[in-house]
Subunit: 93 residues, 2 copies
Amino acid sequence: MIGVRAAVEVKPDNIQEFIAIAQELVEASRQETTNISYDFGKLADSETSFAFIERWEDQKALDQHMQTSHFTGAVAAWEKHLAAPLDVEIYTF
Amino acid sequence: MIGVRAAVEVKPDNIQEFIAIAQELVEASRQETTNISYDFGKLADSETSFAFIERWEDQKALDQHMQTSHFTGAVAAWEKHLAAPLDVEIYTF
């Protein structure tokens, strides 16, 4: 199994727009058969730091996820809302 | 729901000892009724960086977890194996 923590720093004025895009990505990603869990939330004690915490069957499942239209579409849509690049950590469980 | 990413930097010579402690903690933590998932693994492209990726019903569940003997015992046991303090991020899903 593969675990992902993808941390996001959002521009203070763009938080609602970002959350809307993120929630759509969560719903679509959870439908992928190789997804084990996919969650999104705000970092404690912060208003602008968020993360996706994900678990996938294996690396191939994650690679396929990153080719989906819902993932590539979300990444394109939220680009203008980010204050820093996505900080992604991938773990092998 | 609460998500936790607790990152750990382990001394290069202490990895096997640390992994043994971590795996015991995983087994015990998964038995807690308020735990949703509890995983442990190595960061991609690293030999010394690991993380626990956890999901709990709520903050109270996480607080209770951190009072358990298996958690406090693991933290005490792995202290000498760490190259840096635990880096904990808590997310509200």
